[in-house]
């Protein structure tokens, strides 16, 4: 038998295109996986594209986002004097051609773009880095989140704080949906339920956030000295395990709530009224 190979990690420079370095086992295939590893990234791309296309269309359509007493979550808080409805104080007058959605969309968008779960989802599915585990990525070089622009993912906690403000506003919208068309309290329609469910899912999504988990207690090393924060951390940790589910459920519910208001506002359907 021959002696064992020399120690050390071998030559550091790979072949062009990041191919296997010398001394690695010579296996040409990009992956030897036989399962349908491409299915997950494919579905992710489709679902996210669908959402992007729909939300862009709605934001630029700039109409049919209010149907007394419901306001679409894409347009709330509606800040300009051009806003349909009166769910929020009108703060300023913007140019007509700018949809009021555009002033606020950056926050939920930034929140989701920097979310640890969505990062995983789009790095894998859009950027193929990697498309699936043990499937080689197509890039020659890789620096991850070490430098501009991806180093800005580290601002996620600030978007988390902003997300909380939005949740409060959307919850307020859901409460306002207990008024009828005339503004009298004591109404409830299917739209009320849709807005309520959306607000609840958004809370679950935000509270299960990794930054939230860190802020409420994760940053401590001595839980025993902070029993209350330990309790919070325990609850958030439990939610956090389902963060991916909440991410998808709330994405769907936001789009659905908007779509519901869209349909009611265009008189395509009429709101089912419970009382």
């Amino acid at each position: 038998m021959t002696a064992t190979a020399s120690r050390g990690t071998g030559p550091v420079t790979p072949g062009p295109g990041g191919g296997p370095a010398p001394r690695r086992a010579a296996i040409a295939a990009r992956t030897l996986r036989k399962d349908r590893w491409w299915l997950q990234p494919l579905l992710t791309v489709l679902a996210l594209l669908l959402f992007i296309v729909y939300s862009t269309f709605r934001a630029f359509q700039n109409a049919h986002y209010f149907a007394e007493p419901y306001i679409s979550p894409f347009f709330s808080p509606c800040l300009t004097t051009a806003c349909e409805g009166d769910t929020f104080p009108k703060l300023f007058t913007g140019p007509d051609w700018i949809s009021p959605a555009l002033y606020i969309l950056i926050f939920p968008l930034g929140f989701r773009l920097t979310c640890y779960y969505y990062r995983k989802a789009y790095y894998r599915s859009f950027w193929l880095s990697p498309p699936a585990c043990a499937v080689a990525e197509p890039h020659g070089r890789y620096t991850g989140e070490t430098r501009f622009p991806l180093i800005f993912q580290n601002v996620h906690r600030y978007f988390f704080y902003a997300g909380l403000v939005f949740n409060a506003i959307l919850t307020y919208d859901a409460v306002l949906a207990f008024r009828d068309e005339g503004g009298a309290w004591g109404h409830m329609g299917l739209g009320t339920l849709v807005l309520l469910a959306n607000a609840a899912l958004l809370w679950l999504y935000s509270l299960s956030c990794h930054s939230c988990r860190h802020i409420v207690g994760g940053r401590l090393n001595n839980f025993s000295r902070h029993p209350l924060r330990y309790r919070f951390w325990t609850v958030v940790s439990r939610l956090n395990a389902n963060h991916m589910k909440f991410a998808w459920a709330s994405l769907f519910s936001v789009a659905f709530a908007d779509f519901y208001v869209f349909m009611v506002a265009t008189d395509t359907i009429s709101d089912l009224r419970f009382f």
Binding site: G10, A25, N221
Partner: protein, 251 residues
């Protein structure tokens, strides 16, 4: 219930090699490592394979089975169809020594660079005391058997050999997290995590968590919390300010 299974096993060394086809008998209840051993005993006496415990506890038998990084001793043959070809290759991220055996010393070198556990001074009676709830988080990472499947899978080094110099890999990022969360430890490893051990290279795509045979949640419970701790230290102006003016002691 015995049947003949089709196996493709990578054979070779650093100079070169390829996948060879074999037909091997498989008995009910066996795992891939049993079949590799039978192959060694009956057809390929010089097949190199590393193993030790056959119980998923020593971390020696790491390999890639049908392209997925796994422990050979913990992969049941019943997970494959009888007519399915089972492909076994060495770990692809490390230099191969021979056949299924790779040189994993990269990992030992990284391990040696991690600033060691440094406890605060003992209490008056000469003891160290800590509460269970304070160490619980770190204990998850103590389950690690150092099979290095996570290191092998992580695309940062698997697909980019050049990153090995600046990235320690998931196993050692959770080691840093373990120490940083430890109630007795007094060393601040956050700068080092980012600058020396390449925490920023990780893009939280979670393949390490997917392959870990111990079910450690490397990304959710180790790497992401560590990233958040680094944000406190390096990227968040508020926590930075809080620490500067002494409003925020590190605890």
């Amino acid at each position: 219930m015995t049947y003949d299974a089709a196996f493709r096993v990578w054979r070779g060394d650093a100079e070169g090699g390829d996948l060879r086809d074999f037909t091997v008998a498989v008995n009910e209840g066996e795992v891939v490592l049993d079949v590799i051993h039978r192959l060694q005993a009956t057809q390929a006496g010089d097949l190199a394979v590393r193993w030790n415990c056959k119980a998923g506890k020593c971390g020696s038998c790491s390999a890639e089975i049908n392209g997925r990084p796994r422990l050979m001793c913990m992969t049941r043959m019943s997970t494959f169809g009888e007519d399915e070809t089972v492909t076994v290759t060495p770990l692809r991220a490390f230099p191969v020594i021979r056949d299924l055996v790779t040189d994993v010393s990269f990992n030992y070198e990284k391990a040696a660079q991690i600033p060691a556990f440094t406890p605060r001074s003992r209490e008056k009676d000469g003891n160290h005391r800590m509460q269970q709830i304070d160490v619980e988080r770190s204990q998850e990472f103590r389950k690690c058997i150092e099979c290095f499947l996570c290191q092998d899978t992580c695309h940062v080094i698997r697909d980019h050999e050049e990153n090995k110099a600046s990235f320690a890999g998931p196993r050692f990022l959770i080691r840093l997290a373990e120490l940083d969360m430890h109630p007795l430890d007094v060393v601040d490893r956050r700068d080092a995590a980012q600058e020396e051990f390449g925490l920023g290279f990780c893009n939280v795509t979670k393949c390490c968590s997917e392959v870990c045979p111990e079910g450690i949640h490397l990304t959710d419970n180790g790497i992401i919390p560590l990233k958040e701790r680094v944000v406190d230290r390096k990227f968040d102006p508020l926590t930075w300010l809080g620490a500067k003016i002494g409003r925020r002691p590190r605890d």
